[in-house]
């Protein structure tokens, strides 16, 4: 495991803490993300929850620099969101984007010769794809494709790993396997920020929860407190399966 996910605790310069202030995104005159202030510390798994259209995926993309906010600022470990900072982050999308190549070649694309085939083999074994190296990536099942996307993200040794609903529409076994990999990455020091609609998954994984509704940050705190004693009506409605207005 150690060679798969190097221990990143204490990696310098550290990207954490994250400090975001007044993050706002307006598209076509509509405010999709509305003045979010967010501070994240150095360890653990943060799950971003909220109803559809709450701005979860947009927030993730802004924190990773894929979308430029209309207003506000983001600092990772005191640094602005430069390419150098972004190179030490990775994002796994809901629908894995795999190259039209073999499983092994998809990993080689990011390994770029680093540690060669031994590291590739270790990563594939780690995500349970050891026997699939020569197979075209797009012939894998949905769960296998997502695990390959996760292996590719881990291959970059990210200090921060973003996951945007990585287990949406996967079967329970695939979900558990991916959760195991995510937990392993967190244990080795990667800071995980995961968007999910799956409350069960959030309960299993989250150290803390960020709850969004209508583009605003409504709650942010320890997972146990959020699930047992949500502070806002919106969060109570969401947890009870009621429409959040």
């Amino acid at each position: 495991m150690r060679e798969v996910a190097p221990d990143l605790r204490g990696a310098t310069p550290a990207l954490l803490p994250l400090r975001a202030r007044g993050l706002t995104l307006e598209i076509g005159g509509k405010r999709l993300v509305d003045g979010i202030d967010l501070d994240l510390g150095g360890d653990g798994i943060t799950v971003v929850l909220g109803p559809n259209g709450a701005g979860k995926s947009l927030l993730l993309r802004m924190l990773h620099g894929l979308i430029q906010p209309t207003a506000g600022e983001i600092h990772w470990g005191g640094h602005p969101l430069t390419t150098d900072v972004r190179r030490r982050q990775a994002l796994v999308f809901q629908k894995p984007v795999l190259l039209r190549r073999s499983v092994a070649a998809n990993l080689d694309f990011v390994l770029r010769g680093r540690d060669g085939s031994a590291r590739r083999r270790a990563l594939l074994d780690h995500v349970g794809l050891g026997g699939h190296a020569a197979q075209p990536a797009r012939q894998l099942s949905g769960g296998e494709q997502q695990r390959l996307a996760l292996a590719r993200a881990l291959a970059t040794e990210p200090q921060v790993l973003f996951l945007d609903e990585p287990t949406a529409s996967l079967d329970p076994a695939s979900v558990l396997k991916i959760e195991e990999i995510v937990r392993g990455a967190a244990a080795h020091g990667a800071r995980i920020i995961l968007v999910s609609h799956d409350l069960g998954q959030a309960r299993r994984l989250a150290d803390e929860v960020v709850f969004l509704a209508n583009g605003r940050l409504v709650e942010h705190g320890p997972a146990a407190r959020f699930f047992d004693n949500p502070a806002s009506g919106a969060a109570r409605d969401y947890l009870a399966g009621r429409l959040v207005v």
Partner: protein
């Protein structure tokens, strides 16, 4: 003038006998068109890829021009190349007029816009799919283009074959800049035009059959490549 049946019989006999004149003409045709296709790919693919991944002011106008250039009239291209390569032209000192090189230049000018426009479309679709992932990986522009060209290789092979098909079937430009000189610049299409004008339909039909066979072969190859790529889930 021979009747059609007789001409066809003679044409088949010519093709099957491996007539040296016929083989020379076919060989030069392939040499000129394959060279022009290779040069057009070297020029057109990077330009197409760059147009696919960049956004700049006036890009739409550039795309309109590139797309319009796909319909360049071969005779006009031939004339422009002729004017440049003729003794009085700016490149006359090179002495290229009525040589296979002049024909390659003319065909390259004709098919580069085809390669550019079609590859731009192919790579833009691919880029739309890969864009967020590539930006997440902080790939440079060169790395992005390289990855797109590699992953789009099967579709781009179709683009190459389309360019080659256009080049090998073209007559207007090569006859103007090549002059249709026997044993020097005579290719299939110019020979067909000449032999038809002379009323010798056997050689014209023989060359026509070979040209058709090449066209069929090219299409069969495209189909085979696409099927293989789809089967291997690379397309």
């Amino acid at each position: 003038m021979q009747d059609m049946g007789e001409a066809l019989q003679l044409a088949l006999a010519l093709v099957l006998s491996g007539d040296p004149d016929l083989l020379e003409i076919v060989g030069l045709s392939l040499q000129v068109s394959l060279t022009a296709t290779a040069v057009a790919l070297l020029l057109g693919l990077p330009i197409g890829a760059l147009l696919a991944i960049t956004r700049f002011r006036g890009r739409d106008a550039v795309l309109v021009v590139v797309n319009a250039l796909m319909g360049l009239p071969p005779v006009v291209v031939g004339l422009l190349v002729y004017l440049h390569l003729s003794r009085a032209g700016p490149l006359g000192f090179l002495g290229l007029l009525y040589t296979p090189t002049a024909m390659v230049i003319a065909q390259t000018i004709l098919i580069t816009p085809i390669v550019t426009a079609l590859s731009r479309q192919v790579l833009e679709d691919l880029h739309a799919e890969y864009d967020e992932q590539f930006r997440s990986l902080c790939l440079s522009r060169i790395e992005t283009i390289r990855a797109l060209l590699w992953d789009g290789r099967y579709a781009l092979l179709t683009v190459a074959l389309a360019g080659f098909g256009r080049a090998v079937a073209e007559v207007g430009a090569v006859i103007v800049v090549g002059g249709n000189i026997d044993h020097l610049t005579r290719v299939m299409t110019t020979a067909i035009a000449l032999e038809t004008a002379k009323g010798d339909l056997a050689l014209a039909l023989g060359l026509g059959l070979i040209l058709m066979a090449i066209a069929l072969g090219v299409n069969a190859m495209v189909q085979a490549v696409r099927l293989t790529a789809t089967r291997a889930a690379h397309a």
